[in-house]
């Protein structure tokens, strides 16, 4: 039976939420086409408990490759392991999350396997029984629909985070867990010297339901503390525009936009952000946008549901108080 694979984002014993989006979508596609869904998990000391939710979102099978060589991501080790699995099992579609890892490995495996690759899809549609993949290139200004020339070959796609909804978990579903040991990883030419994770106690930007984001108007690292107070009150993640990151006020991992993360929270509060096209490409899908900027001409007001033309240092503390009152 033809199989759709989902390559999981697994880190620190946890499967990332973005993977559940991909598994949910793979399930929908598999049901429409009469296929099965397998999730591939790479890591070292992979705990079965972490894999349990995969079945609930639609996995029929979980293939685990557990090896110290996979503890940290390297494209050579991961691609070699995946190549081996593909050659052994012949899936017909592989879905990656369009994260820094998924985007990195997908084209390499595509080239090794002579497969087509459609990257950063935001939807899958059905056209006469064949899947049509929707992308949003040109900073999201264009919707491009494309298809593989041959659906019988191995085809690879990467899924843009937050573009696909997570299915209601079905706790009665189970999946078989298969542990596989590849023959080897070939010559791993990337040697990981160090991993510098910038710790954040906050909810991950891409998982956040609320985001308080700051730009040029925040004026410095101290300015972000004002935003953090509002974020604390909301249980929100803190984001930033490219300017704030380039000024060194906040780490790059918090950047929202074309060159940063693409987010779609329920509420996005943009503070002192002008709203360039690049920034909009990262947050334009938010359910509700509030803009706070003292420049009434700022582009952000063109897309914001609610705008306040005033100094963010005046508005944000007041907003924090208002949120407190609402929660009380």
């Amino acid at each position: 039976m033809a199989t759709i694979w989902v390559f999981a984002e697994y880190k620190d014993g946890v499967i990332g939420k973005v993977t559940f989006e991909a598994v949910s979508e793979a399930r929908r596609l598999a049901d429409a086409q009469g296929k099965t869904v397998s999730v591939v998990v790479f890591g070292s000391n992979v705990d079965d408990a972490a894999l349990a939710p995969l079945a609930q979102y639609g996995a029929d099978q979980v293939i685990v490759v557990d090896d110290p060589a996979l503890a940290e991501y390297t494209v050579d080790a991961y691609a070699a392991a995946l190549d081996g699995l593909i050659e052994a099992h012949h899936p017909d579609t592989i879905m990656f999350v369009a994260s820094s890892t998924g985007q990195d490995i997908a084209p390499v495996v595509a080239q090794h396997q002579n497969a087509g690759l459609i990257s950063e899809i935001v939807a899958i549609e059905d056209e006469g029984g064949q899947p049509v993949y929707v992308r949003a290139p040109y900073s999201g200004k264009i919707l491009e629909k494309c298809a593989f020339t041959n659906n019988d070959d191995l085809n690879i796609v990467t899924l843009r985070p937050k573009a696909f909804t997570i299915a209601e978990p079905n706790t009665s579903r189970t999946a078989t867990i298969v542990r596989e040991a590849p023959a080897g990883f070939g010559n791993i030419r990337q040697i990981v010297k160090d991993v510098l994770r910038v710790a954040s106690d906050r909810v991950d930007l891409r998982d956040a339901e609320f985001i308080v984001s700051g730009g040029r108007g925040v004026k410095g690292p101290e300015g972000f503390q004002v935003l953090e107070q509002l974020a604390d009150e909301l249980g929100a993640a803190v984001g930033a525009s490219r300017v704030a990151v380039e000024q060194g006020w906040i780490d790059k991992q918090f950047q929202v936009g074309q060159t940063g993360k693409i987010v779609a929270p329920q509420l996005y509060i943009a503070c002192g952000i002008s709203g360039s096209i690049q920034h909009q490409a990262g947050m334009g899908q938010s359910q509700c946008i509030v803009a706070i900027n003292n420049d009434p001409e700022a582009d952000i007001f063109r897309i914001a549901d609610y705008g306040i033309v005033a100094d963010l240092f005046e508005v944000v503390p007041l907003m924090t108080e208002e949120v407190k009152k609402l929660k009380a």
């Binding site: 003292n294 420049d295 009434p296 001409e297 007001f301 063109r302």
Partner: protein
């Protein structure tokens, strides 16, 4: 219209990036502080913009005057005060470029091009604006050179200048002959007063200067004694082209700000852009910008070819572009309504700055007189 060469397009595109990334953020601040923005000057110098239309022999890049003027216009879209840095350097150095000896060129131009020295044009006096012949500043010949005495007014960027191109009368056997001199601005007998508090063009300091018997060597003389008027006219033509280009920048900036605002501002359920009264003003701004560009290129054509009618054609560009900029800025404020009157929006700055260009480099009335004189010569004499 002149079509820019490939490398000239690249230069303009570089200027565009510098404008968008650096100057745009500073423009309002420059206006508010009314101090010469040395940081921006340094960027322009670093990028080589003071060498644009300068000779290659002294380290310049000898691009077309058209390309230089378009760079001036682009800078002016963000900040006319910044654009005027190029104007001041060009009008100040014109005498050396055009009439200087090789030695003078080699001494002064490389430093001016590199941005290491700033040169200002010192002609206007309290009682002599556009009339070179009525200058009262004197240059008295001595054994080794000259002694310069007199007052100058409205000298752009004087308080940051290292050099002045000074126009003065030399007494030759009882006859007063105008001449141009290079004077060290840091000479202790050169007294530069605090800059005027102006309506607009903040950040481009305009100062009175007093030359208190300043001694200069004979090699400070540019060209010959008696050539002063001719030298001044040439420099003023180059300067008026830059002023016209700066005004064009204001017209373009007014159009951009107004069109964006008119599309975003909704009244009676529709963008105000949809109202004919507004859209026609925008159309007029576009026509003015296109016509300004055309007249600037025509003036440059006359200037570089030393055309017989160069004065008239340069005057026409200066008059039209500055009148058009003033109209565009006025309408930009109008389109913005009450907001346009507030400092929150940049158009009130355009409005204040635009006025200057109908006066600077010779009032538009004087320019029209130059043109009218030509008309009379052709038809009425």
């Amino acid at each position: 219209m002149y079509e820019l060469q490939e490398e000239e397009r690249m230069i303009l595109s570089m200027v565009d990036s510098v404008c968008t990334d650096i100057i745009a953020d500073r423009a309002a601040e420059i206006d508010e502080q009314d101090e010469f923005p040395q940081d921006i000057y340094d960027v322009l110098a670093e990028q080589g913009l003071f060498g644009l239309a300068m000779p290659e022999e002294q380290g310049g890049f000898a691009v077309s005057v058209n390309c230089w003027a378009q760079c001036v216009a682009r800078l002016a879209e963000e900040s006319p005060a910044v654009a005027l840095m190029l104007f001041v350097a060009a009008i100040g150095a014109d005498a050396i470029m055009t009439y200087g000896t090789d030695e003078q060129k080699n001494t002064y131009l490389p430093e001016i091009i590199a941005g290491e020295k700033k040169i200002s044009f010192a002609m206007t006096e309290p009682n002599a604006g556009s009339d070179v012949w009525s200058l009262t500043t004197s240059a008295k010949p001595t054994e080794n050179g000259y002694v310069i005495s007199g007052n100058k007014m409205f000298i752009s960027n004087a308080e940051v200048a290292d050099l002045f191109c000074v126009f003065a009368q030399v007494d030759v056997d009882g006859e007063r002959k105008p001449a141009a001199f290079i004077v060290d601005a840091h000479d202790e007998r050169v007294v530069i007063s605090a800059h005027e508090q102006k309506l607009g063009l903040h950040g481009s300091p305009t100062c009175p200067i007093f030359f208190d018997k300043v001694e200069v060597a004979s090699d400070a003389l540019i060209g010959e004694v008696g050539q002063g008027a001719q030298i001044a006219f040439h420099a003023l033509n180059r300067g008026r082209i830059a002023l016209a280009a700066t005004a064009l920048g204001i017209t373009r900036a007014s159009l951009k700000a107004s069109a964006t605002y008119a599309e975003g501002r909704k009244q009676f359920g529709q963008p105000v852009f949809d109202f004919e009264a507004v859209s026609f003003m925008l159309a007029d701004m576009r026509i003015a910008a296109t016509a300004s560009h055309g007249l600037i290129d025509d003036a440059i054509d006359a200037f570089v070819n030393d055309a017989r009618d160069v004065k008239e054609r340069v005057a026409a560009a200066k008059v039209f572009c500055s009148d058009a900029a003033q109209q565009a800025a006025t309408n930009a404020v109008q389109i913005h309504g009450g907001y346009g009157f507030c400092k929150e929006y940049p158009v009130e700055r355009y409005y204040r700055d635009a006025k200057a260009f109908t006066i600077l480099g010779g009032t538009n009335q004087i320019q029209r007189r130059i043109i009218a004189d030509e008309v009379r010569k052709q038809f009425a004499l």
